[in-house]
Amino acid sequence: MTRRTVVVVGAGPAGLSAARAAARAGAEVTLLDASDQVGGQFWRHASRPAHDEHRYHHGWSTFTALRDVVASHPRVTLLTSAQVWALERLDDGVRLRVLVGPADASGREHLTLTPDALVLATGAHDRTLPFPGWQLPGVTTAGAAQALAKAERVAVGDRVVVAGAGPFLLPVATSLLRTGARVLSVHEAATPASLARGWGSRPAGLLGAAHKTGELGGYVGTLARHRVAYRLGEAVVAARGDGRVEEVTVARVDARWAPVPGTERTVAADAVCVSHGFTPRLELAVAAACAISPDRFVVVDDGQGTSAPGVWAAGELTGIGGAEAALAEGWVAGHHAASGAVDDPAVARAARRRDRSADFARRLEAAHGIRGGWTAWLRDDTLVCRCEEVDAGTLRAAACATGSADLRSVRLTSRAGLGPCQARVCGRTVAELVGADAASSPGDATEAPPAVPDRRPLVVPVRLGDLAALPDDPT
């Protein structure tokens, strides 16, 4: 009997869990990750985990158990340093193109996979709204600070301001403190009123869903011990410096996130870490023709199946629910991708855990979701597209000149979003600024919007030499 083959892309909480579930359900599993370690963003760790590695992570023992299963299970092939760079749809499934080897190296090994079923668990990355000076060295995403602290114990600066929106700012500030940085303050754009709307009026409400309470409560305690102020209804509205950040301006914002005139104050800092939420890595899902919701997540059914036959999705790709949700979704996705038994009690329990965490995602959006007033801190010369260095004034002029909110012509005229990051950083912002964002118009959740910024035939730039070395496909 030939076993059903399942490929899982992404070895974060969702992908690890999916790979284990699929193997347990009897499939032959290949688990791929572009990184040279498993764990994804949540369990990004030192190359040689330190004896106190668990102090830097939540659920470290959950991770080591999953890692050990995928490393030793006879039906799991684990491929790290394996970048999926393209996905093509075939009549009866999909074909994945993979390069295996050190990041961006030339001469990496080509691999082509045509599994019976595919689980996408590619996660998300920070969404950072532009502000004057955000292109200066020393301004990073909050995720960058977190990744460098967790994996290398390196702090992005000595005197650091953390800002943006969402509970993620708290672990980031804590990690910075652990790596020896001085965290000057944490600025959360959400006002007390919207926090109360999302999390309830008691401070413990912010700490929300049951399992998150202990975790976030611990962060708040650490910040208090280090006398780090956690300020609500404030935003970093500018950074200045000669060739690097030297000072940042913080201002109060109103409920719509518009800065309140006269409340600006300037702080000397050599780093500022800013994140306004997460946005999923959609390119493989878009290439597979999965339906995408207006708020840009992969639409899935109860079994985590996407609208594309043979393709399942789990984790941040399907909604920002945190690692617990990702683990539960991965379990359900992996099991169904492997055609596991419909009445498996463990899978039913995982599905219930997933359903409970849907509430967390809703509260997160209600409390910390991006509000339109932020554009008031943009100036005409504020860069929006960092790659092509296109500023807000140029973008608005292009939108006027083309006389429409047609994203494609605005991008071609201004060059916004045409640089090497392929609009990952600015795509949604550009769309919002020119009024072309699908998310801003209520629509049918099952209809795929044009998703223009996420359509990237090549998931990452590929060297011409590597394209030339591509083996012929069996026909």
Binding site: D36, Q41, S47, A103, A105, T141, G143, A145, P420, P461
Partner: protein, 92 residues
Amino acid sequence: MTARPLTITLDGEPFAGAEGQTIAGMLLAARRRSWRTTSAGAAPRGVFCGIGVCFDCLVTVNGARDVRACLRRAADGDVVETQHDPLPEVTS
């Protein structure tokens, strides 16, 4: 810790670190904040996203251009060069 020490150079200047560190991590640990100059504005850039998404951190490593410093683990003796000039090679 027990990780083996290693050295790389950036435009000839030596930087010390340990096995397992990325090129960006080594440079940041030495308080170096930028190593690329943009094409249009000739402005300095270093790490922004830290996870391979933004392409701000590109360097040339042992002669190969457009390597994301935040993803590439340093190898002892790596010859790293800063990049400026035309926009990085993209084939999409």
